[in-house]
Symmetry: C2
């Protein structure tokens, strides 16, 4: 069974014009009805800083806990962690970056400060729910300040040492190739998640390379939404439906009913007001 | 060395609003300047039937023969074959379909009639230049009338028996998956070309599956143009630049200078009047 974590409601919608809480709940419930059992549904930032993710508690309240469903939320500090715990979330993700420059630009924190903050978050969570540290720019960065071979394993080990439950390697800016995927997995092992983007149109190829190397956890988004707000969303996440289509064809199982998932695509497209990047989303 | 056959000037531009002969020559010359050494530059149909490909002889005249360059043209009958020979083309492609329904719809001919016509074309060419039979719907068709396991090898062998020099397997309607690619190659061998589309967003994944199985010839188009005239060109060919980027990263050689090729993308986009489907084309 391949673990497909749908990140559309968070990583996807974050770069879109804000939807209402009700729309986001409807989208998430449609995903659940299609068999998606692992979903990043919220982000516990300040509503004024990330308006598209405002009302996290209301979204979580609108998607009650149920057996077999993992509702994930992104937290950036202990305040967010407390909010996530208080509303009964099932898993938290914490994003850090292997690139010093990207870390500074994206969060205003150095890699060292991010490590400290992550330790505080993990202490706050206190193993009450699973924690996943998502390492952005894991395969390189546009600032040429990442040496994957030299830095990645050390960085991963620091977070493992802090006691996080999972590590996810993220190709935030589209640097990964099948070669780099294999090299990264040789360094840190295949018990990681992969969070890949189509910045160069190579996200799906990289996902399949990871699959063939033994990875069993993937982040993706319905329709391939997300990423930087380029026209056409070309830099979005790997499209859930395309990855699931290939996985099923290759004989792997997921929790997802592909036909039902594809039926959700028009609703999503209507909600965000533009065409979805994924080709497969338009064939049904 | 991987043989990259750029089909943008034919398979790509065919579905666009017609460019002038001069524009098409300029596009082709830019490709050559970027190191592309195998290009489908023309189609010898009736100008009134395919206006976007009108003036084939003028295009060929504007792209003179040179050592190391293979200028390819599509022919559909002996009349086209004679024209291709007369203007000094280097290679012809002949398209047939494994799907009876697709064959009838696309050409008005049955598979049996297409075999006869191909024999006539090959006789006319008389081994003066290489011939490549492109088998469309090789991996399946939307009409569910193709049994790849049962029919493909027999079909390929009939054309090999007629004396064509090459076979290319085309995924005209986006049915292929890595599994089907591997199954097809197990049937007919890896000494074939692959002509893959992004109808389901899986073209590049399929190309890499073919590469790993041993295929060394690929059709693709700059910017991923071509295919059915869907919005955004989502059903276009595998993008040349993305495949070349991955091939070079994996240590394979091509004739192409990737940076120079990417520099041609804005010109192409301007000529056809819309954004190119490929993500990589927009990063430079």
């Amino acid at each position: 069974m391949i673990d497909i974590r749908e990140v559309g409601p968070r990583d996807g919608l974050q770069v879109e014009s804000p939807l209402t809480v009700e729309q986001r709940i409807e989208f998430i419930q449609c995903l659940i009805a299609a068999g998606v059992n692992h979903i990043e549904i919220a982000s516990f930032m300040r509503d004024d800083l990330v308006p598209s993710m405002a009302g996290a508690e209301q979204v979580v309240a609108g998607v009650p806990a149920r057996a077999g469903l993992t509702r994930t939320g992104l937290v950036a500090n202990t305040k967010g962690a407390k909010r996530a715990l208080a509303c009964g979330l099932d898993e938290v993700t914490i994003t850090v970056s292997l690139s010093e420059t990207y870390s500074q630009k994206n969060t205003g924190k150095s890699r060292r400060e991010a490590l400290t903050t992550t330790g505080e978050i993990l202490n706050c969570i206190d193993a009450k729910i699973p924690t996943d540290v998502v390492i952005s720019c894991a395969f390189g960065s546009p600032y040429a300040d990442v040496s994957m071979q030299h830095d990645l394993l050390k960085f991963v080990d620091e977070f493992r040492g802090l006691g996080c439950d999972r590590i996810t390697l993220a190709d935030t800016t589209g640097e990964a190739t099948p070669r780099l995927i294999r090299e990264a997995l040789a360094l840190v092992g295949t018990d990681v998640g992969l969070h890949l983007h189509e910045t160069r149109g190579t996200g799906l190829v990289n996902a399949i390379a990871g699959l063939e190397a033994g990875v069993r956890r993937f982040d993706c988004s319905l329709g391939g939404i997300g990423g930087s707000p380029f026209a056409n969303g070309a830099a979005g996440n790997v499209a859930t439906e395309t990855l699931v289509f290939l996985l099923h064809d290759l004989g792997y199982q997921t929790s997802i009913d592909l036909d039902k998932l594809l039926a959700v695509a028009p609703l999503l497209s209507q909600m965000i007001g533009h065409r979805l990047p994924s080709a497969l989303a338009h064939l049904h």
